[in-house]
Subunit: 480 residues, 2 copies
């Protein structure tokens, strides 16, 4: 028997107050001091699990004990995305105002499935996504909806595309319909193929388009694929252009892809999950030229806009097609307001919805356009500075252009074969990550192992990037 | 021009500390005092939006101003799910420990897509979902995964079912395959039909099964439907049994449905989103008999287990089928750990994942088995007390049995026609809700408008239920 307390009702408000203050202090200490923790969790698979009881407690436990275990068992198993030298994946960070918004949303715990179940959550979502739309310069016809991730957003966009390509699908499903396809570059995110699989297109229903030497979708290859498929009786359902691919942040030429997509009658979805926020920065916006002609666009504030996960905004110029794909209003959700206001449940799979717009609204207000521009511009500057150091150093080379704030590079000193260089770069990566001072990830480009340094954290300074570069060179010398 | 500050970097840690303490106090005050606010937001569509600027701020704003607008503009537009007299929908509530867990998770802001991107988040999810599995008494073969909502969970379960029913689907999609169907009771949740639509089955690929006089799926009708469809060449993909339907919380007889489902080779999914947690209460567990034979089961801690939205646990006895439906591992997510530990991204659509297990772990530890049982038992007791008052009162009647903590009832005084009674009950509902002291929703059962009182909030006491009953009777007299 676990000793403890049998608790009926909720935690008493004064106990909650005390613990919330304790948590607030922990959070402030953590955010202020995370730079001194190892970035990558220094644990092996199973280490965390082994320190936890195999079964649940029979009686309620002292919350101080829970917080102590959080600090002593959970934290050592955390890879710190907040660390200013976390340069892995997309190096996404929340920010103070975003965390405050999330705290308050957790306390409110409303479910904005229909307007009346929480009017402010529905309307604030409309306002915050429209503010973001204005910031990134998309035309007024785009209506925004917040999903958990871009994976869900692209699934919903492709569902709308399927609805348009196959008017019969809502009633009869895909059985017996002519084969259809979704197109994206070979560097597009895995969620697009996952979306196509989920929707019943199969892997055959997803075709990758070759890229040019800057890893951008080749419009001529897209046209050739569409023509070939049309001749084979395959229906083009959607083309997904990516502005900021996951490996290299390459930017597909949306302005050239759009007219081809139209010509073949397909839906144009722009995956700007990563690149979208950069449209707020005047000198970066031209890279996105043509996205305003898309049917749908996804922009992830949780990726490069200082908003804690999860917050992915799907903009759609044809929201009625989205609603048509998903809307089913059962009686228990009907009310006098049905039809008078937006019911967010109609725009996707999930019925329950957290109050995600609150943190986005906090972030947009706290930073304002100027603050967002300043942060994004600094991240791009840091990445380009790093790229410059790589280029200037004997034996090191850039592996891709740097349109945004991710640098793909490689140590390939003279006299080392390509296979050997792959293994060498892997060892460099492992050595740097094991040190705990910086964290990077890798990718493969044209078959070669390539290191990636992604800047995107609001706490990252030039000193962190410079130190990472020092560690990489040291590791290069040590592993050579 | 908005006056303000251009902010580079994050909010300074000491500013965050001050504001987090301010937020903590607001949260404690709110949770302690929510009972004195109007339950249903007393606003009209557009009221909140009108009070917010049409465009985003150019420069960063004072965070005190943001918090003030939160209190003055957002809060009046909130329908308070925390209010102890919120009896609408499923009356779900978070709890102090759940909110603390969410606060800390927001600060950590990790993304547990693969093990190494946050080992503790992956392993704590394994531990917390296994503790919950033990609490509800599901066998050890069930592996849990946390999704945002049961809508996502059922989509993933049905995707796995589709993978099993059609081995060719992964490669070729549904084109050209024999028609298939998903079955659920006519009282099942709309997300099941949505899931079938998403997966490409169409509305024709979803068949509802009639219910008995207690709104439970009729096994004989299920068998008849499966036989009829088999004769017509339609492939049975999945049967969804619901334990706790949305309108009445009726419980489908899983023990009778399971063997029929097996016999026809279909996947059995049990939607125990609402009813699942009740298996922790010994005297309620028998209602779920047979669920241990399911292929997948969904249990929502955010529904009736004091965990803030979103937290839906999908238990699967065939996790490899889930993985098969979704797993695509691109190079940029591969690492030395790939395959050695669980990569949560493989079990569904979303790649990004919040650290949702933290709040669930806090809740399970704070309340313990005893505390959970005490709370659930009390909610059931309150609902049954209310049902007793309805039954004992002239002119009022129960409209459905009360297996859990939702009461469906109706005012139908002698001499009033059924249509008139529908309108009367609608007026009663509107009158009570407009008063702001209690909030209920309605449903339709066999065509009739029925009022619903759902108990599920950890703050609700008998006094709140009694007051709601008083208000309903007053409204009944006033509207008659």
């Amino acid at each position: 028997m676990t000793p403890g307390t049998r608790r009926a009702g909720d935690m008493p408000p004064e106990e909650f107050r005390r613990l919330a203050h304790e948590a607030a202090d922990w959070m402030a200490d953590y955010l202020g001091g995370v730079g001194s923790l190892p970035v990558l969790a220094q644990v092996q698979p199973g280490d965390v699990k082994r320190r936890l009881p195999a079964g649940p407690p029979e009686r309620g436990e002292d919350p101080e004990l829970i917080l102590a275990d959080f600090r002593d068992i959970v934290i050592p198993g955390i890879t710190h995305w907040n660390h200013p030298a976390f340069f892995g994946y997309f190096s996404i960070s929340g920010s103070g105002p975003g965390i405050l918004g999330e705290m308050l949303a957790a306390a409110l715990n409303v479910n904005a499935m229909v307007w009346r179940s929480s009017p402010a959550a529905t309307e604030l979502e409309e306002v915050a996504t429209d503010w973001l739309r204005q910031l990134v310069g998309l035309p007024a016809g785009f209506e925004g909806i917040i999903n958990d991730t871009a994976s869900s957003s692209v699934l919903y966009a492709l569902a709308a595309a399927r609805e348009v390509a196959y008017p019969e699908v809502h009633r009869n499903g895909l059985f017996g319909l002519p084969r259809g396809r979704v197109y994206a570059s070979e560097h597009a995110h895995s969620s697009i193929e996952k979306g196509a699989l989920t929707l019943g297109f199969g892997q055959e229903g997803f075709r990758t388009i070759p890229t040019d030497d800057a890893f951008r979708m080749r419009p001529d290859a897209l046209r050739a694929a569409l023509e070939e498929d049309r001749a084979a009786g395959i229906r083009p359902v959607a083309v997904v252009a990516t502005t900021g691919t996951t490996s290299t942040t390459s930017v597909d030429p949306v302005d050239a892809i759009g007219p081809i997509t139209r010509e073949f009658g397909a839906w144009l979805h722009v995956d700007a999950a990563y690149g979208g926020p950069t449209a707020i920065v005047p000198e970066l916006r031209p890279l996105l030229a043509g996205w305003e002609e898309a049917d749908s666009v996804v922009v992830n504030p949780h990726k490069w806009l200082f908003t804690p996960v999860d917050c992915s905004v799907l903009y759609c110029r044809r929201p009625q097609d989205l609603v048509r794909a998903f809307s089913i209003v059962p009686e228990y959700l009907r009310s006098a307001d049905t039809g008078k206001a937006r019911d967010l449940m109609d725009y996707g799979v999930a019925l329950g919805r957290r109050f995600r717009s609150l943190k986005l609204w906090f972030v947009l207000r706290y930073f304002g356009r100027d603050g967002i521009v300043a942060n994004l511009r600094e991240h791009v500057r840091l990445a380009r500075a790093f790229a410059g150091w790589v280029e200037a150093t004997e034996g090191w080379e850039l592996a891709a252009p740097v349109p945004y704030a991710v640098v793909c590079f490689r140590f390939a000193p003279a006299g080392i074969g390509t296979e050997q260089a792959d293994a060498l770069n892997q060892r460099i990566l492992d050595r740097v990550n094991a040190g705990g001072e910086a964290f990077l990830t890798h990718t493969r480009l044209r078959g070669r192992v390539v290191l990636r340094l992604a800047v995107g954290n609001v706490k990252t300074t030039e000193a962190h990037v410079a130190r990472a570069w020092e560690l990489l060179r040291e590791a290069g010398r040590a592993e050579l």
